[in-house]
Symmetry: C2
Subunit: 235 residues, 2 copies
DNA sequence: CCGGGTCCTTGTTTCAGATCAAGGCAACAG
DNA sequence: CTGTTGCCTTGATCTGAAACAAGGACCCGG
């Protein structure tokens, strides 16, 4: 049965598909294909023809821009329920790679564009999400250009914490939170436009100030969320 | 007659409105209002309720993001025919200010959103433009984070030249081009995430290398487009 | 012609973060 | 158990751009 892949979809309510009624879902399912990728695997290559789009079902992806001589910058992170891909573009401008093992629900680009024409609510939702992504990208431009290393790292930690455990705690409360970073120091550096060493030093500083606890390379405990927020806005 | 404002509109063919048929234009005209602003005037304030959107008819606008302590970054420039504003957002995230005298065709946000629902082609065009803006913003993230001062300035000059005299010359040809910068050194610095002094020094360097000629503060002649492109990609 | 803007250039100093270099630690294969 | 590999930390040094400072060019109003 073709709807199977949607019925038990963990992001059914949060992805673009949430805009579809039952018939719409059935039609959409016909276009979709599940795909699993392992950490490090690249899903779309900059310069390649833009043939597919996707909804991310699980895992985390990065979108990387690069200069001709190899300098890299992560220009977007994708979490479950996010839409990935470049509709209406002939070729991919950026490379998209899995940071963790991940599961995608892929659609051919052309049929997807055609589907949007006939499902105004999905098109509208995509528009709203794209506008939000644009706003975020602009905020990140401010961060890349004008924030200090300390502010950047603190800000990223806040973002990742919010993404990692949305349901675990109510926003605003200040109890310690523990979560796993979905990426290495190197990836953090690529997101923030810095080097690995500087990221590491900032984390050490935050630890020294009693704001964080680090255990292993990936596990972070925010001991003082208030201080972390202050750090993000001032250091 | 209500259609008057569109009939003689210089950007009629290039703005969002190009997606409308005659009836659509008439309906849209009913929602629009022309507004002139002088250089330096602010059109939308970050934090204010998002009440209007606009098509830019003439002039150049900047969109500025700022930190709490006053550091600023220009996160977008708007040229004639560009769409400005944040539909579906309750409040403006960024401040939009005129760099030159400018003319806007404004629409109330809510009625505009409603209008989009009923004019799928316009909604689709807005989606495509938003996707392109997002791609540009991501490219700029790479530039802000990873390029050197020289690369940034050369790149911006190339962009502005392309915007300034689109019809004057065919792309790729290498004859000298003269055009006026639509902004001060200070604005260039705000776009590129640098300081006025560094922008000035880079321009002086470019002049010294025989790549550019500068006359007055605003007029630039690209004497060697090839060299300028090389500078943008390597210096 | 003068005074006061605004904007730009140029010189000097300072500093945050990059770069270079050396280990540490955990996971894993043999 | 041992060598390898990947990732992280820490230290020392270097450097590009910021910050600070001073002065020049141009414009405008009186």
């Amino acid at each position: 049965m073709p709807t199977e892949i949607c019925v038990d979809c963990p992001v059914r309510e949060h992805a673009l598909c949430s805009s579809l009624n039952d018939e719409g879902v059935i039609a959409f399912t016909g276009l979709c294909q599940r795909r699993c990728v392992t950490a490090g695997e690249t899903v779309m290559w900059a310069g390649d023809e833009s043939r597919i789009c996707a909804n991310l079902v699980s895992g985390v992806l990065k979108m990387v821009a690069a200069t001709a001589d190899g300098r890299e910058q992560i220009v977007g992170l994708f979490y479950p329920a996010d839409f990935v891909g470049e509709p209406y573009a002939e070729e991919h401008a950026f490379t998209v790679t899995a940071l963790t093992n991940a599961e995608l629900c892929t659609v051919q680009r052309r049929p997807f564009e055609h589907f949007l024409e006939e499902h105004a609510r999905m098109e509208n939702l995509l528009l709203q999400r794209t506008l939000r992504a644009l706003k975020e990208a602009r905020g990140r431009m401010l961060s890349l250009a004008r924030l200090s290393a300390g502010e950047k790292v603190a800000g990223l930690l806040i973002d990742m914490a919010a993404r990692a455990e949305r349901c675990v705690r109510r926003p605003g409360s200040d109890h310690p939170v523990t979560f796993d970073l979905p990426m290495t120091r190197g990836h953090m550096a690529d997101v923030l436009g810095m080097t690995i060493e500087t990221v590491s030093r900032q984390l050490t500083k935050l630890k020294g100030a009693g704001v964080l606890a680090l255990s292993g390379n990936r596990t972070v405990t925010i001991k003082d969320a208030h201080a972390l927020r202050a750090w993000a806005a001032a250091r």
